[in-house]
Symmetry: C5
Subunit: 99 residues, 5 copies
Amino acid sequence: MIIGRVVGTLVSTRKEPELEGLTLLLVREIDAELKEVGKVVVCADAVGAGTGEVVLYAAGSSARQTKATQNKPVDHVIMAIVDQFDVAGRLCYDKAKDD
Amino acid sequence: MIIGRVVGTLVSTRKEPELEGLTLLLVREIDAELKEVGKVVVCADAVGAGTGEVVLYAAGSSARQTKATQNKPVDHVIMAIVDQFDVAGRLCYDKAKDD
Amino acid sequence: MIIGRVVGTLVSTRKEPELEGLTLLLVREIDAELKEVGKVVVCADAVGAGTGEVVLYAAGSSARQTKATQNKPVDHVIMAIVDQFDVAGRLCYDKAKDD
Amino acid sequence: MIIGRVVGTLVSTRKEPELEGLTLLLVREIDAELKEVGKVVVCADAVGAGTGEVVLYAAGSSARQTKATQNKPVDHVIMAIVDQFDVAGRLCYDKAKDD
Amino acid sequence: MIIGRVVGTLVSTRKEPELEGLTLLLVREIDAELKEVGKVVVCADAVGAGTGEVVLYAAGSSARQTKATQNKPVDHVIMAIVDQFDVAGRLCYDKAKDD
């Protein structure tokens, strides 16, 4: 999985019917300094994430293993909101301080 | 999923039989400034997209989760036409103004 | 899927038994100018492609969705011979003129 | 699979229910000189790995083939702790000397 | 699939039980000049390959389609030993001369 930040939303009315009701969010990977890196990917949202939140997302067939995404043509899903993560003993992110 | 623009079409008569009747479109990823980036990928079309349209496409086994592509040897599918998307609070694309 | 050109062949006698009888071809991706780009991948051939031909290939589990490759340990398959493709309104390749 | 070193941990309380009880570890790939290369990925832990350990991780649908991860929306899993590995006849890593 | 050369071995005693008895080999991709390129990947071995041999490996769920790897958490498998391959009409590798 990859740690990212929700940076936007996407609206589509003409789409594969199974996608009806699914929230689509734009996410950018962040590094240990919380800097946004790499390109934007569009994720289905399985946990009610909001813009600006630090999340964990999964790709590929694993993105279809949530209740919200089963059997749907989505290849990225937000499956967790991040509370904290540390790298090399340093607390890089603490949601309690981010809110 | 990735946001892209349909940039072309592909015709093939000699192919795996299951591909019969499937529309194949060339798509290039676009960034938040709607600039085409990266290389061309060929997507099966599940939603009736046309050249120039901004679309959302999925890759891998998820590309086979639409009615048009089930059990077919395709690894990219256009599964939505994009109406709008925003990044960091800025509306990057609005189909109503693009038409 | 990716558009490529068949650039070579590969022979193997000691292999997983399910691969018996499968043709393995070396393919390189081509761009809109038909220039070979990127590295060589080895594809199973599901459509009888020959060296020099412009083909379409699929990767991942989708590569196992052809009659020739079902349940076999192959992750790339040529599933179509390309007749024509265009980008931005320009005909980039026409097999009738290539032969 | 990729050889990596566990560099951190991640905590999430609001997540897809199936993730309950799963340990999530941050891992960075290492090269033959044991230098950390590339970016951090978040792996589910199937073998009880700890921070600093050299591990082997698998990606994609293969990440769901352990008892700990079956049918769960995870796309990376640590499935082995590395004892030793060699490249070109040189022993690059020996856990007995690392402890 | 990718053409590579076996460059090393990996030993692990603490691992997912399904991996018991599986040989894990380090492989590096080679190009048409047989030069090792890119990074090391760890492959399960389905064909009895040895260090120094030129092999073909598959990734993703296709890596689980051999007798040795079925339902196991491995995402790369060596499924063939290469005898010969040619690119652009030139014989790049001939195992008979390599031995």
